[in-house]
Symmetry: C2
Subunit: 189 residues, 2 copies
DNA sequence: GATAAAGTAGACAGATCTGTATCTTTGTCA
DNA sequence: TGACAAAGATACAGATCTGTCTACTTTATC
């Protein structure tokens, strides 16, 4: 592995461990063992565990939104149902072996007491998601795109939480079904 | 304080700390200091921290559903809008000073790796909530009450997550607004 | 008032946590 | 090939974690 790849690999490994075990439960020693690097190396890249967590969240955010975008764009956007395609992305996510709920919601739960950079990073991600949904609602030609984006986002968050707790990925389709009704109703109005 | 009350008070204090700081971040030493009891006493009541967490979740579940029930029953259930009243309960919850997201979602995030009794307890709570919502849907005379309960539950979970991240309690009303449309649509069909 | 149960205080064990210091090895690039 | 920066290995510091142990005190109950 190249030197420049080490940092990226470290972030990926840390993301996986934090996602699986939680941010407090996954210790630095475990991260470096899994990543196959020395502790010195980790602390050369990041001054603290908190900085590592923030880097992880930034990367997960970027990957998450990229994949969602890819799903939407590759879907048959014949009609104007881009918003609905986001639920197909969710379903694929829920079906993954390593799905353990939303990493940002978990982060907010573990670092939500005092104003924390970790919590803040999670909040940024959520804002970006809603902004993207609004963009899709606009592209779909829906009235009140901001309102629609917030409503679709409610269904996203709800589906993610339920899929996590129940382990049932089909909740994505149930949420999509609700979204369909909302969109149809908005179009009729 | 009476002896028998100590255990209850301990659970309440632990619930507050776990909710605020997280289950891993809040240590036993902090719990006993805040509760004003000796460590020996805690470990006489609970064999491990995990047992304490489970006791906390059981209590929070009972209180949560009791309050939701009370809100529904005290609301003007003139028409048949019991399901809608649950969103008023959510809004009141979101407005509380110590609202830090759903304790069960956080617990699932921190103990979701291997099959854990903590995760299991969270799953039980969520099943009970959906069962209650189904009961309300039935009382409201809605068709397909199970399906409606699951859809309302999606909105509950979504609103809770969004309220946690954004800190904006008015999302409860937005979710209620969506629920109104779903219910009206179901009644019309 | 005696007795047994429960609580307090606090030291302690042993593990684990984050983060640092030291020294050696390795990869990169001129 | 030689210089230099990055990574490795590893011991360590100091804090904190869960859980135990001992010894003493309070409290409830008969």
């Amino acid at each position: 592995m190249k030197r420049t790849e080490k940092r990226e690999h470290l972030i990926d490994v840390a993301a996986s461990l934090f996602n699986r075990l939680g941010y407090h439960a996954a210790g630095i020693d475990l991260v470096i063992a899994e990543a196959g690097i020395a502790k010195t190396t980790l602390y050369r890249h990041f001054n603290s565990k908190e900085e590592l967590i923030v880097a992880v969240l930034k990367r997960v955010d970027a990957q998450f939104r990229d994949k969602m975008r890819a799903t939407v764009e590759s879907s048959g956007n014949n009609k104007g149902d881009k918003l609905l395609a986001t639920f197909d992305f969710l379903e694929a996510w829920f079906k993954q072996e390593n799905f353990h709920g939303c990493p940002f919601i978990s982060a907010a739960g573990e670092f939500g007491d005092q104003p924390s950079v970790v919590f803040h990073e999670a909040a940024i991600h959520k804002r970006l998601i809603v902004a993207y949904l609004e963009e899709l609602a606009r592209a779909d030609g829906l009235p009140e795109p901001r309102k629609m984006a917030e409503e679709i986002n409610l269904l996203h968050e709800g589906a993610t939480a339920v899929a996590h707790i129940t382990g049932d990925p089909t909740v994505a389709r149930k949420a999509k079904n609700v979204a369909e009704r909302l969109i149809r109703q908005a179009q009729a109005a």
